[in-house]
Amino acid sequence: MYSEKVMECFMNPQNVGEIENADGVGTVGNPRCGDIMKIYLKIEDNTIKDVKFKTFGCGAAIATSTMMTQMVKGKSIEEALKINNEAVAEALDGLPPVKMHCSCLAEEALQAALWNYAQKNQLSIEGLNPPPNYVAEEKGSTEEN
């Protein structure tokens, strides 16, 4: 079902964890779909210095979280925004059709974290919109049930 690359990223996930006092935090997804992705960003000089994730989800969700965080680390915000879901899926040597939404989730999670960063710092980042399923990052905000 999954490519070797996906299995590798699932088995050896990178950038798992939290960042204390993160500059931006974003959570997307919902339990109904079985995937929740939370991204922490450390941003300095418009550059993503560090990124961590926590993900509740299937193998593909874990793998895309790993791949996406690896791809954006060290990049400028503008560069990072160019990394869309297809780029992530491609870097994973593809995803099964039913799992493509996981790569969308990764893209959205990054945007949600960046949006949170922009909001906090009252910045306007070109091309960045509030993500559709943006959850204002308060403690316990995902506990909708």
Binding site: G34, C58, P97, K139, T142
Partner: protein, 390 residues
């Protein structure tokens, strides 16, 4: 490999395969022909039918071979609907049936039928009283599964049969998970129609049967040649039918002994999981459940990722959600039990078979807590939970 997905399918037992083999290359005759090669196979079919009938307490003439459980379910449900549509348009079933029952019912709804999906309780049970209360003058069919494929809960079929018979409503049961695993007596239990599928009890895939009580008028679902007394046309899958009959015969040999052994293993696994893994939940009835079914939800963890980790260790299990069916919905069965979505997504089903050993379960019990812990450490839900409780 440690195979713990016997509710999904089972390997064909060597004696079953052996019984089938001559029918591929040697006794290949079409049973509808007149020459000896073919007539021999006609007799083979009669014998197989008698074996299946005997284990269900039915008569041979009441057994019709189908291509599997799905066809048997479709035939029973759509057939009765077509036959009795003048009498009424109401069907009673439950909200935890297999899709092979639910989807035909939904299809009938589009054609104007009215379907009551009885809500099960937290253990997956419906009561005979619920069934009785749902019966109306227009009720033409009650279809309630014998045992659930995900959570293993066994329904009170005999009691429901009594209710159905008392009200003169045709009673179908999807017994795909029960046949070969539980003693069944269609007469004593007042069952009118019963579906079964060979590959769930060490028989081959692609063969099943529908029991149709004498006197129940069920129109054909497939139309064509004269096979199965004109009721189910198509050249008979002779090797498959031989395999099905051999498998059901073996399944009911020493059933009580085998069941007791598997039940002991099941309870061993259940008890140890509770001991070793916090924040989990056994899905399905604790006792009124199939001897081989263990279904747990592990909070904060999604099921598929656990399955992948187990698979890498050579452990084959299943999650509630139909991952590859193109649907991302969590199990309708677990939702019906009242589980929140993330728990419904976090379930793992282990279904034991005749060959599983305690040593195998010990290996699972070694790995599973580690894997759950590992996935929890990555889970934002667990993070939230810990923060909230710290």
């Amino acid at each position: 490999m440690i195979y713990l997905d016997h509710a999904a399918t089972t390997p064909v037992k060597p004696p079953v395969l052996e019984a089938m083999l001559p029918y591929f290359t040697e006794y290949y005759g079409n049973p509808s022909s007149v020459y000896k090669l073919a007539q021999r196979n006609k007799k083979t079919l009669d014998d197989a039918r008698a074996v299946v009938a005997r284990h269900l307490g039915a008569e041979p003439k009441e057994i019709f071979f189908t291509s599997g459980g799905t066809e048997a379910d479709n035939w029973a449900i759509k057939g009765i609907a077509a036959a009795l549509k003048e009498k009424g348009n109401h069907i009673i079933t439950t909200n935890i049936e297999h899709h092979a029952v639910l989807h035909p019912c939904q299809h009938l709804e589009k054609l104007g039928f009215d379907v009551t999906y009885l809500e099960v309780d937290g253990d997956g049970l419906v009561t005979p009283e619920q069934v009785e209360q749902a019966i109306r003058a227009e009720t033409i069919l009650i279809s309630i599964m014998y045992a659930n494929n995900e959570i293993g809960t066994i329904m009170p079929i005999a009691e429901i049969g009594t209710v159905a018979r008392a009200h003169g409503v045709v009673f179908h049961t999807d017994a795909v998970q029960a046949v070969g695993h539980l003693p069944i007596d269609v007469k004593a239990e007042n069952i009118d129609l019963l579906s079964l599928s060979g590959h769930k009890f060490y028989g081959p895939k692609g063969i099943g049967a529908l029991y149709v009580r004498r006197g129940v008028k069920l129109p054909s679902f497939l139309h064509g040649g004269g096979q199965e007394r004109g009721k189910r046309p198509g050249t008979e899958n002779v090797p498959g039918i031989v395999g099905l009959a051999t498998a059901i015969d073996l399944a009911y040999q020493d059933l009580a002994v085998k069941t007791a052994r598997i039940k002991t293993l099941r309870d061993y696994l259940i008890d140890r999981i509770f001991e070793r893994i916090p924040y989990c939940r056994l899905n399905g009835h604790r006792h009124q459940r199939l001897a081989n079914n263990v279904n747990f939800s592990f909070d904060f963890v999604e099921g598929e990722s656990l399955l992948l980790l187990l698979d890498i260790e050579g452990i084959a299990a299943s999650s509630g959600s139909a991952c590859t069916s193109g649907s991302l919905d969590p199990s309708h069965v677990l939702l019906a039990l009242g589980l929140p979505h993330e728990q419904a997504h976090g379930s793992i089903r282990f279904t034991l078979g005749e060959d599983n050993t305690q040593a195998e379960l010990d290996l699972v019990l070694d790995k599973l807590p580690v894997f759950v812990e590992r996935m929890r450490s990555m889970s934002p839900l667990y993070e939230d939970f810990v923060q909230k409780n710290s």
